[in-house]
Symmetry: C2
DNA sequence: CGGTGAATTGATGTCAGTCAAGGAGGGTGG
DNA sequence: CCACCCTCCTTGACTGACATCAATTCACCG
């Protein structure tokens, strides 16, 4: 039933650095199961100390934090191949929550085995640090965007990043990829209001750059989008798969 | 001349998780030297692949990124005990630049030895991942602040975090700590204009919460500041020292 | 003692937030 | 099968927090 790591469909995607058969074999022992969740389900919760770690096999979601007065900051969008729960794995607790947005399939790993991994497989331990660094790198870019760029620039950046990710994951067919988030999710990711996000998306649509409707993101002009967002859509960021 | 890791003055600070003598002994071999830089000196630069990694022994600095049009986003403030260059250590390149703001003393490590560390000292490798996670955790909080909070909330948060760090490092004497940054640095950290930052600081001063002048931060009302910023100043975040 | 960089303060402008209302689609139950 | 409700998207009008512009002060320094 569960997908065998050695046959993991994600392994061959351009989004990830190569994983040897040997490594896949090792990860197979590390994997304790598979979890399917439906859309809009909490997966990890901020402040908790989750006993399980996940790699996203299928589906999308959001990482987010909440303020005391209920405002939400989306940290980033979760795509297949993303590793969830690392913070709980090494620190005491999660710094953010994760919810599914579409139905998801998750590979489940046992948190208690993470230490084994550091002891037995330094290459994989290195990959974990690498992954944390990729995340840190990305968050720095988010910070730059939210702190310094205007709505048009911010939304271009976010959509370009998403398109880049979609491209690396082979999700794009006929210039479009599935993207079943709400405008509110994007607004919360960029610190913008829903209304202003909507109006900015309209401008991008009118300029024939991207159209986002009915859960699909049509990238009409990837070059333009990439240039506006400051992202090279066709050059994926190398990241290891856990 | 150079400080011996086993006698590192940072080890005993509350800011860091305990390091055994054994570990300190190991780090000593890992350390290749010490570097002194004066104020306002570039230390690492975004996009570069630094051959050396540093732990801050003394002094303060800023991590930052620049937009194409020259705007600057300060990622965070660098304090003693911070580890610089991890991104270059595991990925190809740095995601941000680092400049000194005061004179600094840096412990220098050789990037090429980082792999040895993963192979020989899994505990220390684990600490590296831990460190990256702490950083990620912090950046998530920054994102929440910049994206969702207003100027007063954001500045309170930033100053409370700084006070928390200062407290954990024993930098506070008579309710004040050295803080030789410019208002522009804080403004760039929070995505605010210099003018608005200045006016907000004035309000905090008038309310007898904090006073920042002549390179010193006087925290008159830590409870209030902590509450406004959503930070418990007297409970430091546990982080490993590398 | 002119020059430079930082802090400060007031005046003015604007980007984006908030408020409000309508429309489109989907689900449900009477 | 249609009325009702919900969620999400869309659009217009108004408002406000913060940006920008501009000028002054002060400290330091060669």
């Amino acid at each position: 039933m569960a997908t065998d790591c050695t046959n993991c469909p994600l392994r061959r995607k351009e989004a990830f650095v190569d994983m040897s058969d040997d490594e896949a074999q090792y990860m197979k022992r590390f994997k304790v199961g598979e979890l399917k969740v439906e859309a809009d389900t909490p997966i990890l919760s901020e402040g908790s100390n989750a006993p399980q770690l996940y790699t996203v096999l299928r589906g999308m979601g959001v990482r987010y934090k909440l303020t005391r007065d209920g405002r939400r900051q989306v940290i980033n969008f979760v795509f297949p191949g993303d590793f969830l729960g690392l913070q709980a794995g090494v620190m005491k607790e999660m710094g953010h929550s994760v919810d599914s947005v579409t139905p998801m399939t998750l590979c489940v790993f046992d948190r208690s085995k993470i230490w084994q991994l550091f002891r037995d497989k330094p290459e994989r331990a290195f990959d974990l640090t690498w992954l944390a660094s990729v995340e840190e790198h990305f968050l720095g870019e988010s910070l730059l965007t939210i702190g310094q760029r205007d709505a048009m620039g911010a939304i271009s950046w976010a959509l370009a990043r998403i398109a880049q990710r979609g491209h690396a994951l082979d999700l794009i067919t006929n210039g479009a990829m599935p993207f079943r988030f709400r405008q509110q999710d994007l607004a919360d990711a960029l610190g913008l209001s829903l209304v202003h996000t909507n109006k900015t998306l309209r401008r991008l649509r009118e300029q024939q750059i991207v159209t986002w409707s009915e859960g699909r993101l049509h990238i009409h002009d990837p070059e333009k989008l990439g240039e506006m967002g400051g992202v090279d859509i066709f050059t994926p960021v190398a990241r290891p798969l856990i």
